[in-house]
């Protein structure tokens, strides 16, 4: 191991376990478990039917194998699909929430208690299968913004949820999305009414705690005509020796002139130095620019998970709509990531921008996979793609699979790619100026990721940069 790699292996900071009594459904998935979840969530009949339909579809599907990742077969019957802290939080307020849960989120730096709330950010905190607390609900309601745990939204705003749920990622979209549609337990729902600029950043923090439990969350954000919303997502999990499955679905809908900015900092437990444990992050995220001149922007900083399989995309249906994807994916230790985006141009003069930064260190394997598709009617469509890879050490790998499918000759496509290596020489140059090796790595990586970091909201940009220094600390020396 060179001194460069010696630094990557920094302990995972969020690996603690909350000792809390949980109500755990028996392991395995079947129609009874799905009925149980639906019942626990007091769902209407149509929701249960939707779940069962998805489940029956899932049974007919096979797990995708095309991704550039390897892992032993997952036993879907060994996973618990529902886990909730016994003392159920109620709508009554935070004083009724188990202090251990509040403590957990405080420890993670997620301010949900009244006195520590972060000005300007409304948080929905999800612990295993349930939402623990949602802050600023009332303040948001004043301007007509609905921000609720999705389980609550299904009960309180059934028409809205029913109209949009599955409209972007249908239940039969792919294996993991079908499973999620059948067993999802919680997540967030945000609805921004016509003409409203959401006054707060909306944020959901996902925490997996229970052992052998999967987290299947569902997020749905609808931005009506002329509205604007910025949404942040964060996550972490305890260190455990076995792998845990996280299969989420996120759907975004933007109507005429609406903008949705969706930022993720993914910090699931990546597994240990030998590659034991860690989260399998198999996620389907898609936004539909349904309206004219609408815009959906994905920004992701992916540092965690043993395996990442995720392609946040945009369907650019409305004329003049804009899709963006800014990504930093870090793979260290034995992490594997196959991530990228899909931009489907349907409307006229639609534009998409893809900026992907992959960083591989130690034995990490990083794959960018992107599809840009220009449909026949998409006159004047434009895409700009930039894929940069950075390698730290000589045992890691970077791979790029850009797919381009153009069916309209007026399209303008640009693609740039680069691969660079942080070597001893680069680190030495900075050290020769008095900068410590760790700081030198952070600085080089931060510079490499600059185009993505500047897309993040303020609070997140700082966090992302710190997280990156931690993930890579020890990687160079």
């Amino acid at each position: 191991m060179t001194s460069i790699e010696a630094q990557v292996l920094q302990p995972y900071k969020y690996g603690f376990v909350t000792d809390i009594e949980s109500e755990l459904a028996p392991a395995g998935v079947n129609e009874d478990i799905i009925r149980l979840i639906s019942e626990k969530k007091q769902e209407p009949e149509w929701m249960l039917e939707g779940r069962l339909k998805a489940y029956r579809q899932w049974l007919k599907m096979t797990e995708p194998t095309w991704a550039n990742v390897t892992y032993p077969p997952i036993d879907y019957q060994a996973i618990h699909y529902y886990s909730a802290p016994k003392q159920q939080p109620t709508v009554g307020g935070l004083d009724e929430v188990d202090p251990k849960l509040l403590e957990t989120f405080e420890k993670l730096g997620i301010p949900i208690s009244e006195q520590k709330r972060l000005a300007g950010v409304a948080v929905d905190a999800v612990f295993d299968s349930v939402s623990v607390a949602t802050t600023f609900k009332e303040n948001l309601a004043e301007v007509g913004v609905i921000f609720l745990p999705i389980s609550e939204a299904i009960r309180e705003h059934p028409d809205l949820v029913r109209r949009w749920l599955g409209s972007v990622v249908p239940h039969n979209d792919n294996f993991f999305a079908a499973l999620n549609s059948a067993v999802f337990t919680d997540g967030s729902f945000a609805y921004i009414p016509k003409g409203v600029r959401c006054p707060l950043e909306l944020s959901t923090y996902f925490r997996i705690n229970a052992q052998a439990t999967g987290q299947f969350e569902r997020t749905l954000i609808v931005a009506e005509e002329g509205s604007h919303v910025s949404y942040l997502e964060g996550c972490s999990a305890p260190m455990r020796d076995e792998n845990q499955l996280h299969a989420a679905v996120v759907e975004l809908v933007a109507m005429d002139n609406a903008t949705i900015k969706y930022s993720t900092i993914q910090n699931w437990y990546p597994g240990d130095e030998q590659g034991r444990g860690g989260i399998y992050n198999f996620v389907t995220k898609r936004g539909k620019c349904a309206g004219r001149n609408s815009k959906i922007s994905w920004t992701q900083v992916e540092t965690g998970s043993a395996i990442t399989w995720k392609y946040p995309g945009c369907i650019l249906q409305g004329d003049d709509s804009v899709g963006e994807f800014y990504s930093v994916a870090v793979t260290s230790r034995h992490q594997q990531a196959d991530t990228g985006t899909k931009m489907i141009h349907i409307g006229k003069n639609t534009k998409s921008t893809i900026v992907s930064k992959g960083i591989s260190a130690a034995q990490g394997q990083n794959t960018y996979r992107g599809l840009v598709k220009i449909m026949k009617g998409a006159d004047g469509a434009r895409n700009y793609s930039q894929c940069d890879s950075m390698l730290i050490g000589d045992q890691c790998g970077a791979h790029t699979f850009p797919y381009i499918d153009v069916r309209n000759s007026s399209a303008i496509m640009e693609h740039e790619a680069s691969t660079s290596k942080i070597g001893e020489d680069q680190i030495f140059y900075l050290r020769q100026r008095g900068i410590k090796a760790e700081d030198a790595v952070s600085m080089i990586v931060a510079g490499f990721c600059k185009e993505v970091f500047r897309e993040l909201p303020m609070e997140f940009a700082v966090e992302a940069q710190n997280l990156l220094s931690i993930s890579l600390e020890g990687s160079v020396g």
């Binding site: 140059y429 050290r431 020769q432 100026r433 008095g434 410590k436 600085m443 080089i444 510079g447």
Partner: protein, 251 residues
């Protein structure tokens, strides 16, 4: 200030330096000359502590400290500066940011408070004035997309800002046209002071017309084969290096 004794160093298990002795006093400027592959750049890298160069024998004392026992950043913090022959680019990080990080790292090591961006800009402007350069480099990413000459100038800019006690210039003249060479030399000369020393590594005598050395050393096959005053450089210019070789071999 600097005392090198019987220095042997290898790179990739090949011995490049085979017993270098050199003493540099404060206030002096030394030139190290020699043919390709004689070990000039290796000596510069060893002084700065590049991990790829392994010292197998000998000692280096710097201001009474064992230089070989210090990490590269510790050497830098103690005032050792290397102007690189091939400066490295750092994408996305501006020169101004990089320089502030470097200055603050040095200040921190001395227990001094770090400079905030506003304070630093003042310091920077002051330094630029000293060497009579403008601020065009400051907002460009470090060496990214720089021409060969710009990179070399940027090294000197960093040197001016960091105010090293011992500056080692590794072939700073290569890739510079005559005007740039003069500009760089002037900046280096402005930084000469009784408490500082400069070691200039170069192939050609040309640079030494502008940075006039007190001592000239000729490195041949990993050893200093001959030392003299500035006139030695002129002699090398007219006679080449071959006439020195037999002596080195005999030694």
């Amino acid at each position: 200030m600097l005392e090198i004794a019987n220095l042997h160093a290898t790179v990739d298990a090949r011995e490049i330096l085979k017993g270098v002795d050199l003493i540099v006093q404060a206030g002096e400027t030394h030139a190290i000359m020699g043919p390709n592959g004689s070990g000039k750049s290796t000596l510069a890298q060893v002084l700065a502590g590049h991990p790829a160069y392994v010292v197998t024998e000998g000692t280096i004392q710097y201001e009474g400290r064992d230089l070989l026992d210090m990490e590269p950043e510790e050497r830098a913090q103690a005032g050792v500066f290397l102007a690189f022959q091939y400066p490295v680019a750092v994408r996305g990080i501006t020169n101004a940011y990089f320089l502030r990080a470097a200055v603050n790292a040095v200040r921190k090591s001395k227990g001094l408070p770090e400079l905030d961006p506003l304070d630093f800009i003042d310091v920077l402007q002051e330094k630029l004035k000293t060497i009579e350069w403008d601020d065009t480099f400051l907002n460009r990413p470090v060496n990214d997309g720089f021409s060969g000459g710009e990179k070399k100038r940027n090294e000197i800019l960093q040197m001016a800002v960091l105010e090293p006690k011992l500056a080692v210039l590794d072939e700073t003249d290569s890739g510079l046209d005559i005007d740039a060479l003069k500009t760089v030399a002037e900046a280096v000369n402005k930084l000469r002071a009784p408490d500082r020393a400069t070691v200039v590594v170069t192939h050609y005598q040309r640079l030494l017309n502008y940075i006039v050395p007190d001592h000239v050393h000729v490195l041949v096959d990993g050893r200093i084969a001959r030392s003299g005053g500035k006139e030695l450089a002129l002699e090398l210019e007219s006679r080449g290096y071959d006439w020195i070789r037999p002596e080195a071999n005999a030694a």
